[in-house]
Symmetry: D2
Subunit: 426 residues, 4 copies
Amino acid sequence: MNHHQYALTPPMGWNSWDCYGATVREDEVKGNADYMAKHLLQYGWEYVVVDIQWSEPGAVSSAYRPFVPLEMDEYSRLVPAVNRFPSADNGNGFKPLADYIHNLGLKFGIHIMRGIPRQAVHQNTNILGSDKTARDIAKPNSICPWNTDMYGVDETKEGAQEYYDSLFKLYAEWEVDFVKVDDIADSKLYGTHTEEIKMIRKAIDRCGRPMVLSLSPGPAPLEHASLLEENANMWRMTDDYWDLWELLYNMFDRCYKWSKNRGPGFWPDADMLPLGHIGIRSVDGGASDRFTRFTKDEQITMMTLWSIFRSPLMFGGELRDNDDWTMSLLTNEEVLNMHRTSHSARQVYRKNDKIVWTAEGDSEIYVALFNISDRKQTVSISLDELHVSKEVQPRDLWNKRQLASVNSEIRYDLSPHASILLKINK
Amino acid sequence: MNHHQYALTPPMGWNSWDCYGATVREDEVKGNADYMAKHLLQYGWEYVVVDIQWSEPGAVSSAYRPFVPLEMDEYSRLVPAVNRFPSADNGNGFKPLADYIHNLGLKFGIHIMRGIPRQAVHQNTNILGSDKTARDIAKPNSICPWNTDMYGVDETKEGAQEYYDSLFKLYAEWEVDFVKVDDIADSKLYGTHTEEIKMIRKAIDRCGRPMVLSLSPGPAPLEHASLLEENANMWRMTDDYWDLWELLYNMFDRCYKWSKNRGPGFWPDADMLPLGHIGIRSVDGGASDRFTRFTKDEQITMMTLWSIFRSPLMFGGELRDNDDWTMSLLTNEEVLNMHRTSHSARQVYRKNDKIVWTAEGDSEIYVALFNISDRKQTVSISLDELHVSKEVQPRDLWNKRQLASVNSEIRYDLSPHASILLKINK
Amino acid sequence: MNHHQYALTPPMGWNSWDCYGATVREDEVKGNADYMAKHLLQYGWEYVVVDIQWSEPGAVSSAYRPFVPLEMDEYSRLVPAVNRFPSADNGNGFKPLADYIHNLGLKFGIHIMRGIPRQAVHQNTNILGSDKTARDIAKPNSICPWNTDMYGVDETKEGAQEYYDSLFKLYAEWEVDFVKVDDIADSKLYGTHTEEIKMIRKAIDRCGRPMVLSLSPGPAPLEHASLLEENANMWRMTDDYWDLWELLYNMFDRCYKWSKNRGPGFWPDADMLPLGHIGIRSVDGGASDRFTRFTKDEQITMMTLWSIFRSPLMFGGELRDNDDWTMSLLTNEEVLNMHRTSHSARQVYRKNDKIVWTAEGDSEIYVALFNISDRKQTVSISLDELHVSKEVQPRDLWNKRQLASVNSEIRYDLSPHASILLKINK
Amino acid sequence: MNHHQYALTPPMGWNSWDCYGATVREDEVKGNADYMAKHLLQYGWEYVVVDIQWSEPGAVSSAYRPFVPLEMDEYSRLVPAVNRFPSADNGNGFKPLADYIHNLGLKFGIHIMRGIPRQAVHQNTNILGSDKTARDIAKPNSICPWNTDMYGVDETKEGAQEYYDSLFKLYAEWEVDFVKVDDIADSKLYGTHTEEIKMIRKAIDRCGRPMVLSLSPGPAPLEHASLLEENANMWRMTDDYWDLWELLYNMFDRCYKWSKNRGPGFWPDADMLPLGHIGIRSVDGGASDRFTRFTKDEQITMMTLWSIFRSPLMFGGELRDNDDWTMSLLTNEEVLNMHRTSHSARQVYRKNDKIVWTAEGDSEIYVALFNISDRKQTVSISLDELHVSKEVQPRDLWNKRQLASVNSEIRYDLSPHASILLKINK
């Protein structure tokens, strides 16, 4: 499985969805990339990802306009809408934008929907490298339940693999580094589209360029853990995640369930971080233009869980509007070091909405205590359970300070929805 | 519920599906109509129904060609393919064919798919009587799982009811008497499309012409018994039915479950009769050109169940190829009289694949004994259970003969899959 | 179906569950019976029903004590706990209490659980009329999910029917008029216990005494409409119903779905009326000792729906604590006349939580307008839709007054959760 | 997770179920142990497991006698039936038998059902170490769907953990090495009993003796992969497995799905090997006394899959009746070496019922080619896909011979249901 050779640590970056829905423009992408290069690259943030419907000239929010025409090349492949991405003019596609981002030392990612454009099928356009046409390879009973752009592709048809090959050939020409494929990891109508996942894996392996493959939306079922690990670099554990406590609350169980199926090159994904300034041209998640609705305690709790679990970290807000608090969440070197280098993370126990996770470093143990109930609680863990047999002095990673020595039991009072993340020397 | 004023007895007729799949031509329809007028009308057979995809010029069998263009008028309404229905030329639609059939003393029916043509949506064509267009009213997440012609129509959208009104206005102009709407009573993806059923009911009520409304495919769920009765004249109890014993075997339970929800104007439908010469240009049901695979015992069993249950009777074979045996099934006056006039049919018991049904006539009781096991069995019913308190002399309706008198218990040996249908004077 | 000869109108009476849970005592039953005879019998209220666990000497509330011993006779049949029902001493069973109630001109009902006592099975006690024992007929995989008293009975075993026969023989000796069988119409573990329903039907038919058969809990599935009609007199459309708006709100859809499967002798049941003083020794429904939590508007709405739908009416409160308002709901002669004599009730439409029902009388039409939304709305129905073609003067049945004449449309403003019930002369 | 310190390789042994159902006797257990010590211990076979219902004095086959009394001590704990296990007399329990087996150099295992005996609950007997009684801790809605011995234990009740602690205290006294807990990994009624799994884990951790914990029946859901790994040593991937091709066919998909969730101390279990002489006093699997119905090709296919996947290997036949062929399956040192020492097993591909698996050894690669279709097929794999870049000479492990050298593609014709297992030097 060659694709386990890349994304050796969980990918970190920025994605346009939480702030711009389906509407992001080239200038906004560049603006966020500039910011990332200047302020965040040094901390490991490197991917800049253009999310859904970059082919839709008239996109106005996160609510799709059904059945509208998309920009497409002669081979049934969607291309960037030039009014939104001027550098894509003259058939350049995303190559100029990718160049811009690469020149900043960053990596470039795009979102695509599983399948072939419905407009290609109804116009019956050509497929590069095949004498079959769009109509021949579309799967009659295969749509996305929430977007009208595509039909699924039928793996039993001649020309099907050639179509996916032609897509990733194009993305390789554009020098794309990361592809988020949507409507594939779970579908309310059909479950997981396993055969299209395999075609996409093969197309990437053939395209000559390493690209991180990210599968959406979730919840991807554990039932397909083997298939996901063998074909993708990351996959969503959850349906779209927003700044709502209930969604964060539920993520603990999702992380627990997936905690044995992770490793270098394959990462279950807790979805983007809806922090900072979001909802600028999005109406999803039950709100619009806002700063995140999460409290500071909840933001720490989220960052702690994502980091100790080693989820990919994709920031969802408009980076240029970050305040100091938000930046402090993204630039904590000790936390990020745990995210990048720790291993063997596991939930030690969960009881009465008290939860403890640990992970191992080379010479340290990380311990996260969470109180996800709605009342103040004391959360504790004995050193025995951590296999530590000496007195230790925990370090509070978010507050960057040493805490009082502990002989037998780590034990802290935590506010509702709050957590504490500790480092202990072995 | 005005629609309970028509189809006061279960509709009887011919349908092109079992013999011609999606491909029937005008000459074949006329040929079957001629035959019906001459040989069957006197027995009550009167509907001539053109089944699916009469707008598809290139249809070749029962297997649809996905995503191909259909013939359509300027208002997003499908019209007959002129190469298959020459009289439809010059925008005549089905009016000339309907005239032909009406002149024979028969009634004319058509099949339609729920929804609006996908080609109309992707071309964004107009809707008669509305300033909305096809794209405005199509429901994004609503397809047929087994045919690519249509999108569903979204009842919450302006223009949606107008579209259905425009359809039935056209059918009224054509003088259609019977409409079989497909992909609506059950969908493996979405269940029953209740809101489109209601729009169609309203459109028929508004169109000024009484048309029998038949809903397919099944199994329509009992859960929607009220809605079906209040909006349709007949609805399928089963997925497509073919000449396979297992399907006939299962129909007994379906009939039992629906036996309380029937009456003048509303009839649960056991589907077409795959008798005589079928599969001429159809590959469904696991076979092609053939005479029915049912044995004679099974054919009698099927006709007995359909008739005592009072299912609609739609013959599926090429009428012109009927042999004497097949004709004998369609022209038994006593059986057809029971089908037309009896009431209160019910399953008296089912035990060890022995089944007894009864129904009431004005001065007679009908009793059907079935052995649906794979071995010879004796099936019996006491006169007490039929509330008959005197000696009776049963009449065997299929064999047209009086049987020996019975004092206390009706009791016959029946071959595997065989049945006997009796009439007893009260 | 002989059992359609009784319960020709929907049964009306009192049941001990809503006020006394599993704990009612003989004196309380008699007290409510006395009250009914004096104040309500003249309006048609006649059944006095002792609900669950009358064999449990130590019952303390609606929460069952798991696995405790019950009082049982030598033939594995539960008998009344003598400490709670003193007249049952000396093996009298419920006969003395039934006599008392019959002497008041009322009818006597009891509750039983489907199956055979687990204590009988584990002690392996005898079955009257069979040489099989309790262990022989119990069904291994058949329990009630919410009560530990019984195992199901396996219809394939010799002795099974004999056991049920012996039960109803005993109840006939006691002169029971009404039996509510629980854990049978629906089970979260197993669905509907169809075979035990049939055994009970047969046992009643054999016992020589007409008894109304009522099946609980719901929701009984429409899928079994035929079986229910053919074997029972009433069956629950809903899980336990309490004085909570959401449950009342949902009942409209349940009534709609069952509106075609009703008639003399077989009545879908909306469950008991949690009105007046309830929860005296019950903790179900999320509350304890109280007057009903329904507002007056909601109480009228409930009584209107139950009455026009013709649900059985079983009062759940302590009758002796009824106030004038509560009594007014139970003694409205015009409403009760509709409940007793109307037919063809149907929901005319439902839109935006506005609902209209009608029913037919000999010379009148009943119309109920409901606003089940949370804001004030105007609800209307045209006379056309009621097939009325002249000016009418509606009578408001709950307020007992004539309203202004109407030419074309009945139309009233209704408060949230409120309704109006009208009578119109044909 | 201390329990990952034992069962570091997949357990191997003998289990009484496939040959003796619920009826095995002490002499039979000893006879099989003697045989194992003499002929199989040297190959790694070491566990001797007494399967279900050793407390049932009257067990006659694999069909349980419902509701019969079991032998039990004063603390609600089941003990061996002395008529079947004479050495258990005088309250010795399984200690003497365990001693016997330990003296042979083998390990001793027992089967238990989740929960507390129903007879204890109905007699309300005591619990060691608690003032609560059986009735207090039984879970009202918790039975086994296929056996009547036990009720589940309610983890929220005081005394519940004490009960499980008392069980494993007893088993530790008996010196049990392996416990197969049944009705716990999956239940058709309730899914996985996660809380009882956790109580059992804790009870073992507290009992002072390492015992392998095996959970049945399957299919255990992937959804609970984390919980299973953290609490058990092995768990069933499948419902009961027998000598039927369809069950073996389906095992390939089960192994694929679980292939990422295995490691030292935690092993997904493909169930016992129904080989040799089975069904002696069992009627499960649709047959009785017989030699395995699997063909030789199928037996090789099964052994190859179990071994490369590293399933536990529990022989199901009467060992003393093994023939040479059967012994050859259990004593192939190279195959067993792969089973004991290989790692990273994975399905390389599956297409048209051709399947290839590989696993890694220190200096070799194992490759298994399977043809699970019903016709002869050629199955192949390129050396590239195995990351082998030189000519290799595969060794056929079952036939113990070197095969012809291969340059680029391994490729063999395989009969229906046949396979070949190869070793290649890296």
